[in-house]
């Protein structure tokens, strides 16, 4: 129990950090926006001092609070989806049912953030763009420019939602290399601010066109609501196209909203993916401290918090490949007292159980794929050898002599017997019923596939489960490589030979996983010919096997008993396995 709490605490700390960065970002973005919109060529000093004084005024700090509130809500939901265990949805319908409420809520939050951003930012603009009411021809009219900017806020929020969150859930992507967090955040901010300006340009222009078409309806609606007049002249194409200032404001606003949401997303990714050096062994209870610390094995075991598990897998890889990592020594050390290879046993069994569980799941999912299923290269029926038959007879004789009865019923035989016992008439009826049943099943299946949309919504696409497993295989990839590297390091660093005992199991597990992956070589997964997750995992397992075989090439005969496995491993020793 405490382990879950510790893992969650670790994630929570990081989420809080991401949240505080997101809040700080609101001020930065606002400052950025103010610098943009208050630009004066002739009065640069006024421009800078004016912007800074606005940024640090009480009004600003007060009026930004609603936006910050919405950002907090947004990040809470974002954090929850980052930390959630990824579920498998066999059909699109299930996916829709399970994710729709969350997506709807998320969409609402997007709209809220979009609206509040637009509301806040417009209050710093020129007086023509600031209020919903404006003076026109002596009466009070609805301000279509203000409405335009508010709509841009909603539009940008929708744009971000459809681009990033509609089809996919927020997913944690680990960086290829771990740089300092400061450098990552710096380059992220530069990149985002620049890219969002480019990305929002065309959509803003499109939106302006759309506003010209349907803006009148919106204006009239709001005019009725607020009991105001409508300024028709402000809605003509020319007035929108020529008002460069409005378009510019709209563009910057859209860019700000897009970058804001992207940055929040990335802050979470950066903070959660920051590597941790887990401890190998807890300090004795007597020392007081360190009881709450998460060990590497705990981290690998925490399948309920996938982020921590992934961090653990990466840490295993790092500790195995870093030259001067003292933790490797701890792994190979014997416990005091007792002199048991406690650390290694725990670590290896945890890794192996994860790898084996994955292999089993993968194998089970592969059975559903018709391409793999229908292509058995070798027949699996084993002919009974004479020795085996003799042994069976001997066993039966022994049982009979000592009166040992067979307690287990042989199901298959009995079934055939019951069928045989049926009278001919019964059998005929039975056959008929069976036949009709089969026919109905077939027609239903055919109908299911032919009626458009039915299979799309309710059918499980072939290979979807495998693709899902592979898309979550990153943890396994790092564990496999890390475990293999620890094994190879053991040749020179493992003084007591603790790894040697488990090495055959490691090799066996990797070979089994490789065999299962090889079956997928020519299979289209979810319509994709080359699934990158699959390639990454296959190459990772292959490299790990090469690593082990290269280092232990001279001792393989002593390590592996199975001649079939040995033959496979020889391919790796001679570098011919592809």
């Amino acid at each position: 129990m405490s382990l879950i709490v510790e893992c969650k605490k670790l994630c929570l700390r990081r989420c809080m950090l991401a949240l505080s960065y997101s809040i700080a970002m609101q001020y930065l973005l606002l400052g950025f926006f103010l610098f943009f919109v208050n630009f004066h060529v002739l009065h640069p000093l006024n421009w800078i001092s004016g912007t800074i004084s606005v940024l640090f005024s009480f009004y600003t700090w007060f009026s930004i609070l609603p936006l910050i509130g919405s950002v907090v809500l947004y990040t809470i939901l974002l954090g929850k989806s980052f930390l959630a265990v990824k579920r498998y949805y066999p059909t699109r319908f299930q996916w829709f049912i399970y994710t729709a409420p969350r997506k709807a809520l998320f969409f609402t939050l997007h709209l809220l953030v979009g609206y509040l951003t637009a509301w806040l930012y417009t209050s710093f603009l020129h007086v023509d763009y600031r209020n919903i009411v404006c003076e026109c021809f002596g009466t009070k009219c609805i301000n279509s420019r203000y409405l335009f900017l508010i709509c841009v806020g909603f539009f940008a929020a929708c744009l971000h939602f459809t681009r990033e969150n509609l089809h996919t859930d927020p997913e944690l992507e680990f960086p290829i290399i771990q740089e300092l967090m400061l450098i990552r955040i710096r380059s992220l901010i530069y990149r985002t601010l620049y890219n969002s300006l480019l990305k929002s340009f065309t959509p803003t222009i499109c939106f302006a066109l759309a506003y010209w078409l349907i803006g009148g309806i919106i204006n009239r609606y709001f005019a009725v609501v607020f009991a105001l007049d409508v300024d028709e002249t402000a809605l003509s194409f020319i007035s929108i196209a020529v008002n460069l200032r409005l378009l510019f404001y709209g563009w910057i606003l859209a860019a700000q909203i897009l970058s804001n949401m992207h940055l929040m997303h990335c802050f979470f990714a950066i903070h959660l993916s920051e590597e941790v050096a887990f401890i190998i062994e807890r300090k004795p209870v007597l020392c007081g401290t360190g009881i709450e610390e998460i060990t590497l094995v705990d981290a690998l075991n925490s399948s309920f918090v996938p982020v921590v598990q992934n961090l653990g897998a990466r840490d295993l890889y790092n500790l195995s490949s870093n030259k001067m990592d003292a933790r490797r020594k701890e792994i190979f050390a014997l416990s005091v007292p007792g002199a048991h290879p406690y650390n290694w046993n725990q670590l290896s069994s945890q890794c192996l159980s994860l790898i084996n569980a994955f292999t089993d799941e993968l194998a089970a999912s592969l059975k559903k794929i018709s391409v793999v299923k229908t292509a058995p290269l070798f027949s699996t029926i084993k002919p009974t050898t004479a020795t085996e038959a003799a042994e069976k007879i001997l066993l039966r004789q022994y049982n009979e002599t000592y009166g040992i009865r067979r307690m287990m019923t042989e199901t298959s035989q009995e079934n055939t017997e019951t069928v045989k016992k049926m009278s001919p008439a019964c059998k005929r009826i039975h056959d008929q019923v069976e036949k009709i049943k089969k026919q109905i099943e077939q027609t239903l299946r055919a109908a299911f596939r032919t009626i458009p949309g039915l299979y799309y919504m309710f059918g499980e696409p072939e290979g979807a489960k495998t693709a899902y497993l592979l898309s979550n295989s990153e943890t396994i990839l790092w564990i496999v490589q890390g475990l293999a590297s620890v094994c190879t390091a053991s040749l020179t660093e493992d003084k007591y030979g603790v790894v040697q005992v488990t090495l055959p199991q490691v090799i066996k597990s990797l070979l089994t996983l490789k065999t299962e992956l090889d079956k997928l070589n020519n299979v289209n997964l979810n319509g994709k010919k080359m699934d990158r997750n699959f390639i990454a995992l296959k190459n990772g397992v292959k490299r790990s096997l090469y690593n082990i075989c290269t280092v232990f090439s001279d001792y393989l005969r002593e390590i592996v008993d199975n001649p079939e496995d040995l033959r496979k491993l020889q391919c790796y020793v001679h570098y011919v396995e592809t």
Partner: protein
């Protein structure tokens, strides 16, 4: 500094190591080493980067109208070629108006290009000469052999020729798979992926060509097996290096200040970004802890992969880093610059006991490579490339303008290394070495063998077994 002529082969402490004085003849290696001579095998002798209008030499010219000719050229060779076609003498006589228009257009384009170069000096177009300048291969433009790489784990050599073809040699002389692709031009560097059977990254003009060979297939020519890694603004590639674990690929281009680190399996990359000159040379230390990146300016950096990729920034007084190599333990870095004829050494070790915060780290000069005459041979001069063997016992140096290979003995200790001159090697008649590298240690061969690509296209193996 002691002058070279009076330095004996024994090293006096505190003095620089001198060049070797005695020559050795080449020895023979085991018979399974493939005999390679690119001079005889070259498919086409036209050197890439030179005139590329070879198809015109074989086509019979036909009479066609000016407009038609220009349009055809546009579709065949692109806008610039069509413009050149419109400017030439033939067009001028037939249709002076077209010629004049084309001339003005061309001048305008030139002007815009010049202006752009002035405003954005870092976006200058890189020519084949720039690539040759920063290559570790001597006379890269004309050399038959552009790069030789040994597979780190097994008996396999990849040789890139000036015909833009990579040939793979193994201990079975009957099979020589060739890797050829239309977009594989200006090969500057290659690297075998460690811990794989046959995956080769080839750095070339337009990006990195990643070949995955089926070891059972004998001829690999189809481009379908090659994955092309491209990134906007990151070409031509001048250096490719795999991490020793084979997970990451680092690439550098002389037109890009970023170094790209690729997760090849997922086809994703991430830049290592610092302000400064573009990067030209990369060397990953054998233990994977450090990555050296030399720029085209006076700065080079050593990135610590273990320590969150923080770089150590070094500057050299004159020139740029020409070549560098890591010791097998990854603690020592040897490098040479284009500015002088000195071999430098850098030491990387977490010396927690001896370091004091104030002392600045400095590269140590360890050998003087100034040119001198040994009998009728000229040895030394400005260094071209370095190669260090997998045991850290021998170091080979080739030079920019002398035809000998200088060999040194090196001895590695935990906190120190020593170097002493051994001998020098020469080729046949006027040959000079274009490229050198040591054979990796593998099951087939545990001996130390220096592989030399001579300017004549011949590859020679020099075993150190009896030294």
């Amino acid at each position: 500094m002691v002058s070279l002529q009076d330095v004996s082969t024994f090293i006096v402490p505190g003095q620089l190591c001198a060049l070797p004085q005695n020559e050795v003849d080449s020895c023979s290696v085991s018979e399974y080493y493939p005999e390679i001579n690119l001079n005889c095998e070259m498919f086409s002798t036209s050197v890439s980067g030179h005139a590329n209008d070879t198809y015109r030499n074989v086509m019979i010219p036909v009479n066609e109208g000016v407009i038609k000719r220009i349009v055809r050229t546009f579709f065949e060779s692109g806008f610039m070629e069509a413009l050149n076609e419109a400017r030439d003498q033939e067009t001028a006589t037939v249709s002076p108006l077209i010629c004049a228009t084309a001339k003005y257009t061309c001048e305008m384009l030139e002007f815009v290009k010049r202006l752009k170069t002035k405003i954005f000096p870092h976006m200058r177009e890189v020519s084949v000469n720039n690539v040759a300048e920063f290559s570790e291969t001597r006379d890269w433009m004309r050399s038959y052999i552009r790069c030789i790489v040994w597979h780190p784990n097994c008996f396999k050599i990849a040789v890139a020729g000036s015909d833009d073809i990579v040939r793979i040699y193994t201990d079975e002389p009957a099979m020589v798979p060739v890797l050829k692709s239309g977009s594989q031009k200006w090969i500057t560097s290659m690297a075998w992926r460690p811990l794989t059977a046959a995956e080769l990254a080839v750095g070339c003009q337009k990006g990195v060509c990643l070949w995955t060979m089926d070891t059972n297939m004998h001829i690999t020519r189809s481009a379908t097996q090659a994955v092309f890694l491209k990134h906007p603004g990151h070409c031509p590639i001048t250096s490719v290096q795999w991490s020793p674990s084979g997970t990451l690929l680092a690439t550098a281009s002389i037109s890009d200040t970023d170094i790209l680190i690729w997760d090849v399996d997922k086809l994703q990359n991430t830049p290592l970004r610092r302000v400064g000159s573009p990067c030209s040379l990369l060397k990953w230390s054998p233990d994977g802890a450090y990555l050296l990146s030399a720029t085209v300016g006076s700065v080079f950096r050593v990135w610590s992969a273990d320590k969150k990729w923080t770089p150590e920034r070094w500057t050299i007084k004159c020139g740029v880093v020409q070549s560098a190599c890591w010791s097998p333990c990854g603690n020592f870095l040897l490098f040479v610059t284009t500015g002088d004829s000195i071999l430098y050494r850098l030491h990387f070790q977490d010396e927690t006991v001896f370091t004091s915060g104030t002392s600045t780290k400095e590269a140590l000069k360890i050998a003087d490579l100034t040119k001198f005459n040994a009998g009728r041979r000229e040895v030394g001069g400005k260094p071209q490339a370095l190669a260090w063997d997998a045991d850290g016992r021998y170091l080979a140096v080739i030079f920019k303008d002398t035809p000998c290979i200088a060999l040194f003995n090196t001895c590695l200790k935990k906190f120190d290394m020593t170097i002493s001159p051994l001998c020098f090697l020469t080729g046949l008649s006027t040959e000079y070495p274009s490229y050198i590298c040591f054979q990796s240690k593998n099951r087939r061969n545990k001996e130390t063998v220096l592989t030399i690509g001579w300017s004549s296209g011949r590859i020679e193996y020099f075993p150190f077994g009896n030294m």
